[in-house]
Symmetry: C2
Subunit: 233 residues, 2 copies
């Protein structure tokens, strides 16, 4: 029985910008689980209604329809215990959850400001209208306002990423000598940026850049096979 | 052979404000290692010269004189492998190092702004002059300037601590079901604040407050035995 993964797609079916979906993709690759990718548009709430929510990733595993990337990771860990573990014990798992809250609350907002201008034209047309309306309602700002000063966002990001640069200067992965789910939580943010924009978020020779390159190459180049921004232009 | 720990003391020998020294104190308690606490003043560089640096904590373990709290934790882990481990595997350890960089680079500065005004009068007189001079040289600001608006610092801290509140709402410790060294890295910051100031940094019923209370009570109340701000007034 094949796993199915509903993910944000764009105007092009193969476009995959969502950082949360990338967490799940990498978790599936880590576990060596094949899956059928299902491109989905943000307005298509009915297609994922069985998950109990209106957001993706949604993983369909037999009778289970799961949303929330963290809950999906926990499910994969429980349902496939004989596959490589996504967590290196309890301490690794608790701190991965910290990284989740940290990157979602701090880093994602800055990447959003840095790449949204480049990303919007690549979304499906019906989703562009949806995101414009939702952003205005949620933040009281238009997408254009939020994306108006990407350079300042990148400068702020440079400061916010300092602890990440620091630890990855000492160890190859946030999981230590090999990646665990915490790595994929952080990876998702930069993969989103890579797919949506040409903008540089960190120096090419920085520890984060080298770590990102290692994860792009992992699992026989699974994440590298996703075309970067150049491809969509 | 007794371990010796050089630590920042104050006008009163028993005053122990340093967050870095608290990391080491908690690591020693975790490992069940007795130690002789040696109060030290920041101007007394000659007393710790054998450590190769001018800062504490300095742990003296036989012929080893070690400084830097992280290096001391790694030493304890290597030198006392039969004692309870400070790290729950490689992933826990790598992420503890992330927490180290995060809290030192983000949280400490805000706590400094929140508590320095209360703390300075409790330091040894010769250290007060030293810190005033060093702060001016390092930041181009006087201690009075840095401590001029503690309320704003506490407000900023509230935002910065959000990921910590979030994870500790789900798990009792950053180590999962039991504390590991990453917990002590974070604990040190709040113990510093508790010892130096009456100022509230988070709500009493928040997850961080409940986690902090658990760590104060750990090891038969080892950290709770350190008098809080009230004691010094």
């Amino acid at each position: 029985m094949t796993l199915k993964l509903f993910e944000v797609g764009g105007a092009d079916d193969a476009f995959r910008p969502s950082p949360y979906c990338w967490r799940t993709r990498m978790a599936l690759a880590h576990k060596g689980l094949a899956f059928e990718p299902v491109p989905w548009r943000a307005v298509e709430k009915d297609r994922i209604a069985r998950s109990g929510g209106g957001i993706v990733p949604v993983l369909v595993d037999g009778d289970f329809w799961l949303n929330e990337s963290w809950d999906i990771a926990v499910h994969l860990e429980t349902a496939y215990p004989d596959r490589p573990s996504l967590f290196d014990g309890d301490g690794d798992r608790a701190k991965a959850r910290f990284l989740d809250a940290w990157i979602t609350g701090t880093v994602h907002g800055l990447i959003f400001r840095a790449v949204v201008r480049d990303q919007v034209p690549l979304l499906a047309e019906k989703d562009q209208a949806y995101y414009r309306e939702r952003t205005l309602r949620k933040f009281g700002l238009s997408l254009d306002d939020i994306g108006a000063d990407p350079d300042t966002a990148v400068e702020e990001l440079d400061r916010v990423l300092a602890p990440l640069q620091s630890v990855l200067d000492e160890v190859p992965y946030l999981g230590g000598s090999r990646p665990t789910y915490g790595d994929y939580i952080v990876f998702g943010a930069f993969q989103w940026a890579r797919v949506a924009s040409r903008r540089k978020l960190y120096a090419d020779d920085s520890p984060v850049a080298r770590w990102f390159a290692r994860l792009l190459a992992a699992f026989d180049g699974f994440a590298a096979a996703q075309p970067g921004r150049d491809h969509w232009e």
